[in-house]
């Protein structure tokens, strides 16, 4: 491995030297094989674990301290190939190829060895020191699968460690192997492909200059044959002959096989993988008439009628549970916290008073929202996820999602959106095409998150009636469908269909479920607490300094003339940009009462909740959107939704006023 002096694209390379104080280990493998579980066992960091492919959307980092060595562990997103071009595959490929980790630990699913070794073979082409962790050995054993690890290690020329990561089995052996591998830096054996392919690879290798681009020559040759655009781009200047020859050979291969050269290469890898599996794996035939558990559950979960009933019950149950439990805990917490200090963000006094009051209000709002509503939601969601039901929802709803230009996988961010919009937006990365990813994120911002649900319940259900609250919910779903269809038509780009792995069901691992709930809640607190505190302090200060009156006046054409609301609501909507449920708090503080029906008419309450539900996504969401799609798109979504909220609010006000 050598650095590349002429190229500065990847920055200085960490040159490995024995005995250096820190090593880098990357965990790579297919989606849903237990990488995150292995990562958690190695580093003690709580990485989310779920039973759906594509959960690690960005690489996670942790530290393994073992036998006096400090080892940085990087958990890469799950991918099936280094060839293809989704964001996740790009992240993994770039990290392994450019950042040169000291060891790559390839985690494979023991039950699906053939498909997993296909990826292992691609890692071996990259010639980085490799360890194979054969995970989920317990499930494989249940299926009667027996693997000869010593033989597999011999064939591949790399250490092979059986593990059950979720239970911590085999982790010590894996840690030992990592330490051993960073010191010895063994390279894997060469697994050769078919003769007609190997001949052409070696002829391209001969035309490549030494150390071109810092990649192994064989890897470059294979990528050139496959017509990989990045590899061709990089090699064009250094080795134009090799690029031309590879193009010619690729055409020959296409002629022989009648399929594209990249497909020929994939087929070669699969053949090699089949041969390996045939040598090392034996399967005890299952007993007669024994229907696997997964198949028995799927007969109900994927049934054309029962499946949809089950789905409706699960999602409905999740929401009802969240808000019954949530309201109960929230009440207790609010009572407890307001006993400590009164809540009033609109207070005048010394600077210290203002900052303290602002911070306290923000903290209370965060605690009374996140803990009561988000924790029960994430807890049940983690159970649904970990058991494997979420992928079945994707399958059942795929057809419906097509109407909005999306596919079944988009149900995952949309369901997450009922909890909090921010992590839901980030999870849109599991969708492959850029158009569909953006479309899904846009629709996620419209899903009533727990904050918006609190406003709808706290303003409309409490002071008008429950039916109007449900009507608002329904209107929101209708809007999601209509806007989804419109955006699908208007946005450029193509929609691609879903190809998704269906994991087996398993009984949720309770410590894992609790760990995941805590992890999600913690990261959410990390995102929202600062914005609560700072936002709350800023607004309290603005009020104390008399800035709120001009805002009210400036917004009065919208609030008073269009929406028929009191002039004071202008400031309330400004509060809501920070966190939507803060509108309730602000409303109470400004009117000096929590019984909103005494100060607002039923129509005003409905219009107020409707506008709050739809206008600008909260600040944290805008930041998340900007991070994922750029400021232009984030602001476009915000402007569009604000316009929509005002227009719909004005219409509802005029339609309902004569009747109520």
């Amino acid at each position: 491995m050598s650095g590349c002096p002429d190229c500065t694209r990847c920055g200085p390379l960490p040159l490995p030297s024995p005995g250096k104080d820190e090593y880098v280990v990357a965990l790579a493998g297919n989606a849903n094989v237990g990488k995150s579980a292995t990562f958690n066992q190695l580093t003690g960091v709580d990485q989310e674990i779920g039973n759906w492919p594509g959960k690690t959307v960005e690489r996670a980092e942790g530290l393994l301290q073992y036998r006096g060595q400090r080892i940085r562990v990087i958990d890469l997103p799950g991918i099936y190939s280094i060839t293809a071009l989704s964001t996740e595959e790009q992240i993994s490929r770039e990290f392994i190829a450019h950042d040169h980790p000291d060891v790559v630990v390839n985690i494979v699913d023991a039950s699906a060895l053939e498909r997993n070794l296909f990826f292992t073979l691609q890692l071996m082409e990259l010639e980085s020191p490799l360890i194979l962790a054969v995970n989920q050995m317990d499930l494989a054993a249940q299926k009667g699968i027996v693997i000869d690890f010593a033989r597999l290690a011999g064939l591949l020329g790399i250490p092979v460690i059986p593990t059950v990561a979720i239970q911590g089995k085999g982790i010590a052996e894996l840690s030992d192997a990592i330490i051993g591998a960073v010191r010895s830096r063994l390279h894997p054996h060469l697994i050769s492909y078919g003769k007609e392919v190997e001949d052409r690879i070696s002829r391209v290798v001969k035309l490549l200059p030494d150390g071109a681009g810092g990649y192994p020559p064989r890897w470059t040759a294979i990528k050139l044959l496959e017509g990989d655009s990045d590899a061709v781009w990089e090699a064009r200047k250094l080795a134009p002959d090799a690029v031309a020859a590879a193009g010619e050979f690729a055409r020959e291969l296409e002629k022989i096989h009648g399929e594209p050269a990249a497909t020929v290469m994939s087929a070669e890898r699969y053949h090699a993988s089949e041969r390996l599996v045939a040598e090392v794996m034996t399967i005890r035939p299952p007993g007669d008439n024994e229907v696997p558990l997964t198949e028995r559950i799927d007969r109900i979960a994927l049934h054309p009628v029962l499946g949809y009933i089950l789905l409706a019950l699960m999602i409905g149950g999740l929401l009802v549970w969240t808000f019954i439990i949530g309201a109960w805990i929230s009440e207790i917490l609010t009572a407890f916290l307001s006993g400590i200090a009164p809540l009033n963000p609109l207070i005048k006094g010394t600077a210290v008073d203002i900052v303290f009051n602002g911070a306290w209000t923000g903290l209370v709002a965060a605690l009374t929202l996140i803990i009561p509503y988000v924790i029960p939601f994430y807890l049940i969601l983690a159970l649904i996820e970990d058991s494997g039901f979420l992928t079945r929802f994707s399958l059942m709803l795929d057809r419906g999602m097509h109407k909005m230009g999306l596919h079944g996988k988009a149900i995952i961010p949309l369901v997450l959106g009922f909890g909090c919009t921010v992590p839901a937006c980030l999870s849109c990365r599991i969708i492959e095409s850029p158009k569909q990813k953006f479309l899904a994120a846009f629709l996620v911002t419209l899903v009533p998150c727990s904050a918006r649900t609190i406003v709808i319940l706290g303003v409309v259900a409490a002071f008008v009636n429950i039916w109007w609250a449900l009507a608002l919910y329904l209107l929101d779903f209708v809007l999601i469908v209509i806007l989804g269809r419109l955006a699908f038509r208007l946005l450029p780009g193509e929609s691609v269909g879903m190809i998704m792995e269906m994991p087996d069901y398993h009984i949720p691992h309770i410590p894992g479920v609790i760990g995941q709930t805590w992890q999600r809640t913690r990261s959410l607190i990390g995102i929202v607490l600062p914005s609560y505190l700072i936002g709350s302090i800023v607004i309290t200060a603005a009020y104390a300094m008399g800035f709120l009156e001009p805002i009210n006046t400036a917004l009065s054409p919208i609030t008073v003339l269009l929406l028929g609301l009191p002039v004071m609501t202008g400031v309330v909507f400004v509060f809501g940009i920070i966190r939507k449920e803060m509108t309730i708090l602000a409303l109470a503080a400004l009117f000096g009462t929590t019984v909103f029906s005494t100060v607002l008419s039923p129509v005003q309450l409905i219009v107020f909740a409707l506008v709050t539900m739809l206008y600008v996504p909260c600040l944290s969401t805008i930041l998340a959107l900007a991070k994922e799609f750029g400021w232009k798109k984030a602001l476009a979504i915000s402007a569009l939704e604000t316009g929509l909220a005002i227009a719909l609010g004005a219409v509802v006000f005029r339609v309902l006023s004569p009747f109520m």
Partner: protein, 238 residues
């Protein structure tokens, strides 16, 4: 019997058979707008030629030979419909009738050229699946990229799309239609040519199909699965 008439009969028997299992004389007569007596007569001729199994009073079913012929005509019909709609912009109500007349005179060469021109479409304008061609190729790039017309050698056995398998039925992948990116995605997940797969189930309403391959299970969008053509294995499981 003129070949045009023969093909029309086989086509309508295929349509009726797919819906009702067996094509009754009266149903064929209604479909082709001819008298039941002439249907009976025609079925006897078709039976002699080995295209149908005909039992008086019960109806007709296609033989393997008849099925192959009927599918070939259907494929041409649907390709022509795509051509008439997408390229010539013929009005919707005339497309079917025009295609009906043209389908009988199309040569293999023109059929192949049409398929290339239209970039191997998957479905006709009415949404019916277009059969795979009978050329001995394993992917469309073999046709689309070739400069000189390849010698026409045809497949030994007709192919069926994976979406036509019954749940539990096993098959081997023979041909993947479409552009390279689709083929690459499927190949990377283990759906390589000649691989044995099993259709696990089809989701309702043309939803995704679940396929068992290499000891894993994949849910694949119906429109993508339409591109995967297989040789069905004879025996059924489950």
């Amino acid at each position: 019997m003129a070949s045009e008439q023969l093909e029309e009969y086989l086509e309508s028997i295929l349509d009726i058979e797919e819906k009702h299992g067996v094509a009754k004389t009266s149903a064929i007569a209604k479909c082709l707008k001819v008298s039941p007596a002439s249907v009976t007569e025609a079925l006897q001729v078709l039976s002699e030629k080995g295209y149908v199994n005909y039992e008086p009073y019960r109806g007709a079913t296609l033989t393997d030979q008849g099925l192959e012929m009927a599918r070939k005509v259907k494929r041409r019909h649907r390709l022509l419909e795509v051509f008439l709609t997408d390229v010539l912009h013929i009005s919707e109500e005339n497309v079917h009738d025009e295609a009906c007349k043209m389908e009988h005179t199309l040569s293999d060469e023109t059929e192949c050229a049409l398929c290339k021109l239209l970039k191997a479409p998957a479905r006709c304008p009415h949404g019916s699946l277009i059969e795979a061609c009978d050329r001995d190729v394993e992917s469309c790039s073999a046709c689309l990229d070739e400069t000189e017309p390849a010698a026409s050698c045809s497949r030994d056995e007709p192919l069926i799309p994976v979406t036509s398998l019954d749940p539990g039925q096993k098959a081997t992948i023979a041909f993947i239609r479409g552009d390279n990116s689709v083929i690459q995605r499927l190949t990377d997940l283990g759906l390589t040519l000649k691989t044995e797969i099993q259709l696990v189930r089809k989701a309702p309403l043309l939803g995704p199909v679940e396929i068992g391959v290499r000891r894993t299970r994949l849910a694949i969008d119906h429109a993508i699965a339409d591109h995967i053509f297989v040789h069905a294995c004879r025996e059924k499981h489950g």
